[in-house]
Structures are given as structure tokens and as C-alpha cells.
Symmetry: C2
Subunit: 174 residues, 2 copies
């Protein structure tokens, strides 16, 4: 289907919400859930994983909640999707180093041609920091702000960005 999963959606939503409305206060999961009308329990699970990643600081008890623990420019939607959805490679066997779990590595003719497509998509996702995902009423035509990526216009499919800069910033909390 080629789409972000609900979990990724919620994670992105929550992170951007924290980046915007959670300046220096703890935000409860339920607040976010009600704000976006999404199931609170599922969001809770997502929040846990984000906290485990070191991106959120959690504090239990009443008046507890979550706080953004990192800069909103230091993590990208690629990071989030990868963390929440568990590996966002197009074909699963893409991330393993030598095909350790995929013994079809030799026969896997798919790896080559489709890996190229994968890299393009990953590239885009790795270049959108969560800061760029702000709540916006206007759905389209907001191109002006967030041109951090280099996608050309609609009819000239030239060189999307030759470098394929795989910037896996796998490091965690700064």
C-alpha cells in the first residue's frame, strides 16, 4: 500500500505536538490522544517506544507525562518510522548486513533494482526533521517553508540528488 502505518502517523503527530505545545511542561498521553482523536492506548504504546529511543523523557505518577528530550531538528521522520514501525526497508532483507537471515541472498535479484528505489524514498524521509511537520491548517501549497529536500518539479525527473547521502544518524540522545 505504500503508506506510513498508523503507528508512524501517531508518533509523528505526537512528536510534532510536543515540539510545538510542550515547551517545558509534561504532556500526558491522553491529552495528545484527545487532541487528535486517536485511541489513547495505542498512542501510549507508541510513546513508550519513542521514550525508549531516548527521544522522550517520561515521568510517571499524577502530573506526569512526556517531554521532548531532544531537539526537534535532530530526528527525522525516517528515524521515527524506522523506530516505530520496526525497520522501514522496502523489502525486509534490505537492512541485514550480509543477508544473514535471508539465505536467498544470492538469488535475490530483487535486491539490486528495488534497493535503488528504496534508497530514494529513505533519502527523502531522512531529510525531513520533525520540526517540519507542524500542525498546519492548509493542506497543500505550503511548499515555501520546507524546501529542505531537493525534489524537482513534476515533469522533469532529473537527478533527484545524486549523492544518496545515507545519513543514518543512528546516534541517540545528544
Amino acid at each position: 500500500m505504500l503508506g506510513l502505518s498508523k503507528k508512524s502517523d501517531y508518533a509523528l503527530l505526537a512528536l510534532s505536538y510536543l515540539a510545538t505545545n510542550g515547551e517545558s511542561r509534561t504532556v500526558r498521553t491522553r491529552e495528545i490522544a484527545e487532541r487528535f482523536a486517536i485511541p489513547a492506548e495505542l498512542l501510549a504504546k507508541v510513546m513508550q517506544r519513542l521514550a525508549k529511543m531516548g527521544w522522550l523523557a517520561s515521568s510517571p505518577g499524577p502530573s506526569g507525562g512526556y517531554t521532548l528530550a531532544v531537539s526537534d531538528t535532530s530526528i527525522t521522520v525516517g528515524d521515527v518510522v524506522r523506530a516505530v514501525d520496526g525497520g522501514s526497508a522496502l523489502t525486509q532483507c534490505m537492512h541485514s548486513p550480509e543477508g544473514s537471515d535471508c539465505e536467498q541472498w544470492a538469488n535475490c535479484t530483487i535486491r539490486g533494482p528495488l534497493g535503488f528505489v528504496n534508497e530514494r524514498v529513505q533519502d527523502v524521509l531522512n531529510h525531513i526533521p520533525i520540526r517540519d511537520i507542524r500542525e498546519r491548517a492548509t493542506p497543500a501549497s505550503a511548499e515555501s517553508e520546507l524546501v529542505s529536500i531537493v525534489v524537482p518539479d513534476h515533469s522533469a525527473p532529473a537527478a533527484v540528488r545524486a549523492g544518496a547521502s545515507r545519513s543514518h544518524n543512528e546516534g541517540d540522545t545528544p
Copy 2:
């Protein structure tokens, strides 16, 4: 999960195979299936849809098979995914004009911020023609191969070699 479905994979594989090895001969489904070690029946189903899209010409009977009916630069992986996978919008309610079928339109906060991410991904996919998906033996660092597309017979200076100059001029195949 953010990945192409198997069907899309197979479609892309088959199309690129036809673009490369099917110059002016009919290629049987089984040939492609065996080449890539994928289930023939499923590939057959995919091929039928591609044919119905007008991208493949089919001929039944012995010595029958498929032929690429369009230029390999005229369809993109976005087109293919959209056709085979059936609508590749992140959230389904994205394409409807005013949320006619999705009555959550008001609450749908996903539409705004996440639609932006969607558009970026779509953009990338819409800018990769199937010509760019060639079979490559070397998994990484095969950038140099990609350029082999339009290399003019003038002995190009060595400066041309690397990177990014993926030009899609080229008109149409008769």
C-alpha cells in the same frame, strides 16, 4: 510498514525486465518468474493488470507472451504502484475532494502535516521512470551503471562518468 508490496515489486521487476530483455520479442510470464524466482501464478496476475493498463501487449497461444507496449520512460514507479497496489495514498481519504466519503474530515488532523510527507514520497516515486530500474548485479556503488542510458556515441570525455546525470529525454518507441 512503509514498503512496496510484493505485487509492486514483481510488477517493477517484470517491467524492467521487459524493457531490458524484451526488445522485440514476446516474453512468457514463466520466463520472468523463473528469472527472479518468484511465484509464477502471482506474477501472472500482476501481468494481467499491467496489460489491462495498456502498458503491456499480450498475445495468447503458444509462442505467446507479453511485450512492453509503451516507452520505458513514460511510466514511473509511482504509476505502477498506484495501478498494482490500488491507490498508493498514505491515508485513503486523501484523494477525495472534500472528504465526501470520510466524515472524519474535521478531526482528520493527519491530513495536514502528514499529507505533506506523503506528497514528498509520491513525488519521488513519480519521478523514477521504470527505465531507471535496471538489473544491477552490484548492490551498492552501482551509480556508474545508471548512466549507461543515454551515453552518446561521441566518445564522451571522462568527466561525464559519475553521478546524477540521469536524463530522460528520449521520445517514444514506435
